[in-house]
Amino acid sequence: MSRLWQRLRAVFAPGRVAREVDEEIRFHIEMRIAENRAAGMTPEDAERDARRRFGNVTGIGEEARELRGAGLVDVFRRDLRIAARSLARRPTFALAAVATLALGIGATTTVFSVVDAVVLRPPPFAEPDRLVAVWETSGAADDVRSASFANFSDWQAQNRSFSGMAASFTWTANLTGVDPPERLTTAIVTGGFFDVLGARPALGRTLGVADDRADSPPVAVIGHGLWQRRFGGDPGVIGRSIALAGQSVTVVGVMAPDFAYPGDDIDLWAPAGPGDANRNGRSTRFIRVIARLAPGETVAGARANMEAVGARLAQEYPDDLGWTVRVSRLVPLLYGDARPPLLILLGAVACVLLVSNVNAANLLLARAAARRREMAIRVAVGAGRARLVAQSLTESLLLALLGAAAGTGLAALAVDGVLAWGPGGIPRLAQATIDGRVLAVTLAITVGSALACGLLPGFLVSRDAPLDALKREGGGQRARLRGALVVSEIALALILLVGAGLLMKSFARLSAVAPGFDTRNLLTLRVWLPAQKYRDNDRQIAFFQELERRIGALPGVRSVGGVQDLPLRKNQMMNELAIEGRPVPAGGRPPYAAYRVVSPDYFATMGIPLRAGRRFDATDRSGAAGVVVVNDSLVARYFPDGSPLGRRLRLGADDGALRTIVGVVGDVKHMGLDADEGPAVYQPHAQKPEFLRWMTLAVRTEVEPSALVAAVRGAVRSLDPDQPIFDVATMETVLSRSVAAPRFFAALIGGFALIALLLAAVGVYGVLAFLVTQRTREIGVRVALGARRMDVLRLVLGDALKLASLGVVLGIAGALALTHVLANLLYQVSPTDLATFAAVPVVLVVVAAAASVIPARRAAGLSPVIALYAE
């Protein structure tokens, strides 16, 4: 029988192999009994003699089975029993080690579940690598990635690179006929949309080219969230009619929960309909275009082809002059922004895991030191080294498994916490969950941790010369090793602390930025009028004027103002300007500014300061002379020479009327506290273009703003019971949400750094306590020779500081090498910020010193007599 066969049998049929061994032993004993009987012994004597000659049947059987390989499982079980017993004997040690590992494994599991959901999981598209985004850029606003419908139609007709192209844009529609009416985020998509993405519905069908025809009945595909929220997940929703924007629409499909394109919060997909080819003109760029590469085509090839198509269109249409076409893979654009911070988080949590492993290894080493005699005796009586290592590994595996169980519990809580308090705007974050995939990684981490912290102590123990151990010598090497472990813990903790310090300083700087208006006692809400009901511009204007009047009359309300997009929501419209008397030089780009439509009381309500001229008032009616107000940045950019008041300009995508600048107001941080405000033009609401049917109202209150939500809702209902309001939030909340991502990030890294610091402190304490125990005799001699309390304290603290300073030096080197990855996440803080790099080592040294106080005091309190008799 070949040996390989023997091994395989041992692995796959351990019972059979064990039985064969037993049979062989039984055969031997029975043969001896038979022979004894033949020699004339009584049956009892024959058996007794046979057993005596054979020896310890159980012991030999066990050894034999083990040699045959069949005993592996038994051995493991026995080791596990031994490990459990020995842990139960030292509950403090076990608890410390399990808690240490639980923190590391729990933190890693949490972060991995998020990274997995957001970055690693394949997107819900077929062959996502073949999908590209196509957009137009004039070089200024490249990150908008939009195109005009007219150009999209031409691209579709003229490209040679794509097997399909589709366009979509996000819109809004009011779901009525239900209580309360709800505003839905809607994606308007062209016929090829779902085909290009290769997305399949969870229920029913998706939309196709046929749905775009003029005579097609109105249909829609709904998102999983809306399906659950409004239809209770009822499969009978297919074929049902819903009232959408005053129109009856049939639901034909439901998408899976992970399908979220073109936005993360799409409630419903509706067909774009016919005749979109030329809608809104060539210069209105607001659709998102996707395409699937034709078989054999590359991204580079598609790029070259589309650039040529774009160049041809630019020659043909003046509106396209200065615009070039861009092609880039879709998936990195969708999830790419979330990637670097999450990978940094993963790196940070890996540091925490490492620190926790080092700490657990340190604890195990301490324990191994305490059991040296026991181990030495076992080696002396012939236990194999492999057996000792295996047993040490079993113990660390048991610890790691307990830690993993606790850590997974922690992670489940933490993932819930991340979902509840995590920042919005991270695609797919809501799908973060602890599932089989994540658990598999957790298990791998657990086994890795067990190996990492069990191998070293096990190896050391097995290498120990039994005689030395018995004589309590040869501890120096081990002390050095434990010192090295503590140094690495301190270095890792320092790196994390520096990172956390930088992020927190950045967050503090960000929070201190003045937004340019008063955020206190301000309630905000949005209203979007349906086109069917409010087609007429005058009706729209009248609706908002009346609504502002009614809300303004509510008790507790000081004033009301409106704007289409509120500051800090990171959403704004841009418009081209033509300033009278300032022709655009040939080949140059026309001035560009943010475009905001506001009601007369907006500036006063928000507290945006007036710099010159006047605010809007009731005289700026529709039909009256066109006026605009501009901001500081626009004056600085386009009127650096003198007063802009009285100058006139035209707005792009407008009727071309000249509008007079009547006032200048201060800048606001519209696109976020960390973004600089650019030039902006304000237009009175009464002179707005017709398409702008939505407003965000800002209500300045004399009481707690959230107390007025019901009254404001009532005011809207009294005006139009079918009209929903949405995004109801106090301005403080809007402000807080706008910095949620950096705050979340700083808090998370800060938490990791604290864990690492705590573990490092435990490590320092452990190794010093060990050193003091080891040097008890030496300290006793010193005290006997006249050393004072202070001298002993200094001796021990000196050890602590030696470890701490070495760790600090290594940590600073590491931090200097690593913090540059944070550069993009820092606001007005350098990745090598001197104050942070100076303060963090002080913190670490103080913590290390504090952690060594207890062992140091114990050493100082040693009586020489006791110390010398300690052996």
């Binding site: 029988m1 040996r3 062989e24 043969m31 000659r53 054979f54």
Partner: protein, 96 residues
């Protein structure tokens, strides 16, 4: 080495080996018979012997062990070093 030497006579089962060793060493080796089995398994692991199930004269199932070529070489090597050792001991005896 005694085991290997025993097996040079041909395949035998554990009990046979134990008895033969006892007999040839005039019962001088008072070792527990059971310790033979771990030794056998170790030698099989090293490839010196191999084993298979067979039937005894009385029709009982027993595991038979026999020398492999590798085991034979091992035996020769060990025997040689034994001889050298004996010669060395003999020489020492002579010189004293």
């Amino acid at each position: 080495m005694l085991v290997l030497k025993t097996l040079r006579r041909g395949a035998s089962h554990g009990y046979d080996i134990a008895r033969w060793i006892q007999r040839t060493s005039d019962d001088a080796l008072q070792v527990e018979e059971g310790s033979l089995y771990p030794a056998l398994y170790r030698m099989e692991e090293r490839g010196w012997i191999r084993s298979e199930w067979g039937t005894t004269e009385n029709n009982r199932r027993a595991r038979y062990y026999q020398l492999t070529p590798k085991g034979r070489r091992q035996l020769e090597a060990e025997a040689e070093s034994w001889q050298r050792l004996s010669i060395a001991i003999a020489k020492i005896m002579e010189t004293t």
